[in-house]
Amino acid sequence: MSTFYDEVQALKARYPDWLSATMPALRLAQEKHGYLSPDALRECANALGTTPAFCESVATFYDMLHLQPVGRHMVEVCTNLPCALAGAQRVVEAFEEQLGLRAGETTGDGEITFRTVECLGGCGRATVVAVDERYHEFVTPEKVPEIVGAVRGNA
């Protein structure tokens, strides 16, 4: 089994300049640590051959990289214009009710982080919901309990 360090070296070899491996390395570190904790940033920086501060400065720029702890599962509802026009707010509210939280929060058991996101590129199949990066399309409030159940089921 290859170590995190070895995997990052393989990533670096894919590019003309090792610096390009920064984002894939951060993604790997996040997968390993759950979020980009100080430890994760240190490990990433060490494998890349740069500083934790540089890694942190890059990570803060991107919505999919988390510098705060998040739930084991991520549920994201798009509320940009086309989804909004299709009734995305009702889907947001159905999740808030089902999960007992507000958008941006994590369930009490640390399992699910729920948030609104900008356009996911599925606007013709609104409302679009991403569960751990897999898309559910044509989501209506009625479908929310089933989605939450499935997330909890494989929790």
Partner: protein, 437 residues
């Protein structure tokens, strides 16, 4: 409709993500043809076909290629697959259903500019499409189709601004995705400061079709100033939303009514956003506008990313402007002042108007903020933030005024998008994210 499908042809009958299926319909034959031609002849073909960029600006691909210093031994091809413009979902469909067409286009483009490395920058959220594309890349590599070219699929991590080409290059270099001052433009100083051909997914995917049909046949599709097809992403209040590949120049009315099935629930159209949320809105009297770059510009908007969003009469335009403004505020990279400060001002003023707390002077202030932002930013995002707000204000002025006069939103909870939350709203109900356990 009997329209010539190019990019999405055969995708309904076959699984073109499989290499043998793609080859069965003549796939990779254009690449073989390209390898018999001189690079200069390939650039000439792309130029003669008047292939205009499908990513937003409509710049001719051939002209970009001709700016590249052919003598430089290190050059790159970069594919912009960051597709994040609200309303756009065509590149996702192309990559998910016809990935080899994109790869074939990459390899032909690499030969045209004599590059040996291709990077496809795909937005981080497109996990499924990344997997399909990456597998197709490995299959094509294993089938020895690459020759002396390498293709790397690079995932983004969630930032709209990384679709802006210079920000994309910064991001691909492993940095924060902040736009670069230009000139120099990418064909001169691009990825790792080397000459770089950067194009949208659909632009590159059209290249094999030009060789397959020949320039003359290709030019017969669409209109003379914009030949070919575009995959239109139709969304919003329309009966049959989806991606539809149509010749450029197809009338807007035909897309919405003949193809899209019209407006459901017997509602009326209030506005049409023809190119993604960043372009000025059109009104129902403009439904006969042909969907090509020059015609839409003549109508006062932009072709953008061919993402057509239909808005019916249940929607409050102040709410719509506010939601759009929150998106651009969230996505501003913060590098230059007019955009960083201006997007914030737009959100604050529109909030005040929507909540019924505005006075007449606020509408003038809103206009003034828009005009102070336009054309003063480092990249086009600063303008993109203005177009929805200024165009809704200009075309629906009465509705904005009504908010001020009545001290309340005339639609209120009846608006189709009432209460819609944006990601930047999250901090308002919980100042710090706390994770228990």
């Amino acid at each position: 409709m009997g329209t010539p499908e190019l990019i999405l042809a055969h995708t309904d009958e076959r699984d073109l993500a499989q290499l043998d299926e793609y080859r069965a319909i003549g796939g990779y034959r254009s690449l073989a043809r390209a390898r018999e031609l001189e690079p200069a002849a390939l650039i000439q073909a792309i130029t003669d076909a008047t292939l205009r960029g499908r990513g937003g600006a409509g710049f001719p691909m051939g002209r970009k290629a001709s700016l590249i210093d052919q003598k430089n031994p290190r050059k790159y091809v970069v594919v912009n697959a960051d597709e994040s413009e609200p309303g756009a979902f065509k590149d996702r469909e192309i990559m998910g259903r016809n990935p080899h067409l994109l790869i074939e286009g990459c390899l032909i483009t690499a030969r045209a500019i004599e590059a040996h490395a291709v990077f496809i920058y795909i937005r981080g959220e497109y996990l499924t499409e990344y997997e399909i594309l990456d597998r197709a890349v490995e299959d094509a590599r294993a089938a020895d189709l690459f020759g002396d070219v390498d293709v790397v699929v690079h995932r983004g991590a969630g930032a709209y601004i990384c679709g802006e080409e210079s920000a994309l290059l910064e991001s691909l270099e492993g940095k924060r995705g902040q736009p670069r001052p230009r000139p120099p433009f990418p064909p001169v100083t691009g990825l790792y400061a080397k000459p770089t051909q950067i194009n949208n997914v659909q632009t590159i995917a059209t290249v094999p079709k030009i060789l397959e049909l020949g320039v003359e046949e290709f030019a017969k599709i669409g209109v003379p100033s914009s030949p070919g097809t575009a995959v239109f992403s139709l969304s919003g209040n329309v009966a049959r939303p989806g991606n539809y590949e149509l010749p450029l120049g197809t009338p807007l009315r035909s897309l919405i009514y003949d193809v899209g099935g019209g407006i459901p629930d017997g509602r009326a159209i209030k506005g049409i956003i023809p190119g993604g949320s960043s372009v000025p809105i059109l009104t129902p009297d403009q439904l006969d506008t042909p969907l090509d770059y020059d015609s839409i510009q003549a109508a006062g908007s932009f072709f953008g990313s061919a993402a057509v969003i239909v808005v019916d009469d249940r929607c409050c335009m102040v709410q719509l402007a506010l939601r759009a403004a929150k998106f651009y505020m969230h996505e501003s990279c913060g590098k230059c002042t007019p955009c960083r400060e201006g997007t914030r001002w737009l959100v604050q003023l529109l909030t005040r108007i929507e909540e019924g707390d505005a006075v007449d002077a606020d509408l003038e202030l809103l206009e003034s903020v828009c005009s102070r932002m336009l054309g003063r930013s480092l990249c086009a995002l600063g303008d993109f933030a203005v177009y929805p707000v200024s165009s809704y204000l200009r075309k629906f002025r009465g509705e904005f005024q009504q908010h001020v006069d009545e001290g309340a939103c005339p639609y209120g909870a009846e608006s189709s998008i009432a209460g819609i939350e944006a990601p930047i709203d999250a901090h308002m109900h919980h100042p710090t994210v706390e994770v228990p356990g």
